[in-house]
Point group: C2
Chain length 347, copies 2
């Protein structure tokens, strides 16, 4: 599978108008459910039908990978945690597992570049172990990067073919907010200090090391911003490249996506370069405390559903917001109309 994406069609504008018209006859003042109405209209437009159908298979895919830049002391946790957390996802003990249950979603984890051996069930798409330290060398070769993007596309296809009707991408990888900040910084023209964040909770010394690493990586990344594949190879990683492929392919497959935090946000910014218009198929689940995330959402013109000061990743913020999508669908599908309920409409 290539890294060339077909043109992305937007969600159905005619259906969007039909959904708006339906909202106008439900037993409430027009527009009184605010963003819940907009969300329902958008889902209807994605599905191409009014009222929208209830989601039957909300699906989270967590993309795991390690990052060579952790050698520069940019994280509060050691790399071995990535593989340990993959095991935790598989036994259902991580935050995203628990939050997914609230929304009736199931979780899949894929090892794209964990620096450890993981079970076969999760490593089928693995590209390599870890990545180059992006402050001084490329994360991946171009060939590795293309394989990772293709894997992300294939995973999106697998999920949509298996019936997934709303997708969430999540991330797991110690050190991954460093490449995320670089990808966002390079494509939005932002300075290192504007995109650096505390990640999992680094101290001031680590913050200085991380800022320096981002500065050096940004210098390398800015040379290739017109080529998203080269950018992912230079300053991303196999997890980020796969996520970008996944997000772009979800749009190609006309499947709505709930975005998570800064790492998924970085992949989304690149995915929009790979497949312009893909962002029309995404909603921002939340806005995290990572400064680069707000920049990414602004760049994509997406307004977050939740502002909960989260900074975990894994897809946790997106699945926390998923019940709002379920609610938005249900309102359009199940509320009474003024006529059916015998309620007088506006004077």
């Amino acid at each position: 599978m290539s890294t060339e994406f077909p043109p992305v069609e937007p969600p159905d504008e005619t259906v969007l108008r039909e959904a708006e018209a339906r909202h106008a006859v439900l037993t409430k003042p027009v527009g009184s459910l605010g963003r819940l109405e907009e969300l329902g209209n958008w889902i209807a437009a994605c599905q191409g039908v009014v009222p929208p159908k209830p989601f039957v298979r909300p699906r989270v895919v967590v993309f795991a990978g390690d990052h060579g830049v952790t050698a520069q002391g940019v994280s509060a946790y050691p790399s071995e945690v990535t593989g340990q957390m993959v095991a935790n996802f598989l036994t259902g003990g991580a935050a995203v597992n628990v939050l997914a249950q609230v929304a009736g979603a199931t979780v899949r984890v894929v090892d794209m570049a964990v620096d450890a051996d993981t079970p076969e069930a999760v490593s089928a798409h693995k590209v390599r172990r870890s990545s180059g330290s992006i402050d001084r060398e490329d994360a991946l070769t171009r060939e590795e990067c293309e394989r990772a993007i293709a894997a992300g596309r294939a995973i999106a296809d697998e999920e949509v073919d298996a019936g997934a009707d709303v997708l969430v991408a999540g991330d797991m990888g110690i050190g991954n907010t460093t490449p995320a900040a670089v990808l966002i910084g390079s494509l939005t023209g932002s300075e290192p200090v504007a995109v650096v964040g505390r990640g999992t909770g680094i101290d001031d010394q680590a913050w200085m090391r991380k800022t320096a690493a981002i500065r050096d990586a940004l210098r390398r990344a800015r040379l290739v911003i017109s080529d998203p594949v080269a950018l992912l190879a230079t300053a991303g990683g196999a997890d980020l490249a796969a996520m970008a492929g996944f997000l772009a392919q979800a749009a190609v497959r006309r499947t709505p996506v709930v975005l998570d935090g800064v790492v998924v946000g970085a992949a989304a910014v690149v995915a929009e370069e790979l497949a312009p218009g893909a962002r029309e198929w995404w909603v921002a689940g939340h806005q995290s405390v990572e400064p680069a995330h707000a920049i990414a959402l602004g760049h994509l013109n997406l307004k977050p559903l939740l502002e909960f000061e989260m900074r975990l990743g894994e897809g946790s913020g997106a699945v926390a917001a998923l019940p709002l999508l379920i609610a938005a669908v249900k309102v359009l599908a199940e509320m009474a109309t003024f006529e059916s309920a015998g309620v007088t409409s506006k004077e």
Copy 2:
């Protein structure tokens, strides 16, 4: 039952600290779930146990009532809609019914002062039909007001005794944002133009009439702000008085409450006067577009979970936020610890 409330004890501070300590050993960086952690800690403190127990009976009570001030042309809808909507709640067609299902909540509607006959099942606590036009006369007599507050208390007791472990108050009543704005304006010292809003969607002419009515009612209300019962009688209504009693009694009964929009917010501001400290038992489900709502939440020092530009009432914004409480409980109860999952903690 009197309108004198016993002192309100705060949620258990020791248990709050235990919940924070539990969050610190779950497989995620400390604090990385942001407000979801705070919410879980608060629910644990309300329940007095760590981890908190899953909610078994989330319960919404919609307080319906008409308002004499509608005669001054302050609403976009005729008063007959109140009774029609009561019927709609009973058949499950209203927004709050649909949204409650997403959160596993059930809905009860009580007619406190609907200007129509309603089924016996909902009118057991009815105080009167409609209310006085508050711009020129009292909404209720003091005796009616005391009965309404006592009814709200009795309803809270009924629900808690029947097993409700999280409560939502909702409102239904054409014209009810006018007394809500007056109650909030009087207790926060705000001007009419700061608290007036578009309600269900009034035009500029109606906005001017509503602002004048609020101005006149505020003048009357300001004389009695040191007596919350007198204030509810002067400028509230039986629905608002019952809601205030309900919110205060929920706190007495150590039961957490998710607040809704401006009407419930107005009742909450008065309930905090009736039973100081009650606000510790409440969380703000959302912030509506009604300007007085932000003022009320600021006054109560509550930060909304959602900012969704909603303005429907019924408890709709509160139930939309309810899945976040369910998620917060589940995280504390079900996530793996670093030890149980064999994950290395922070370096």
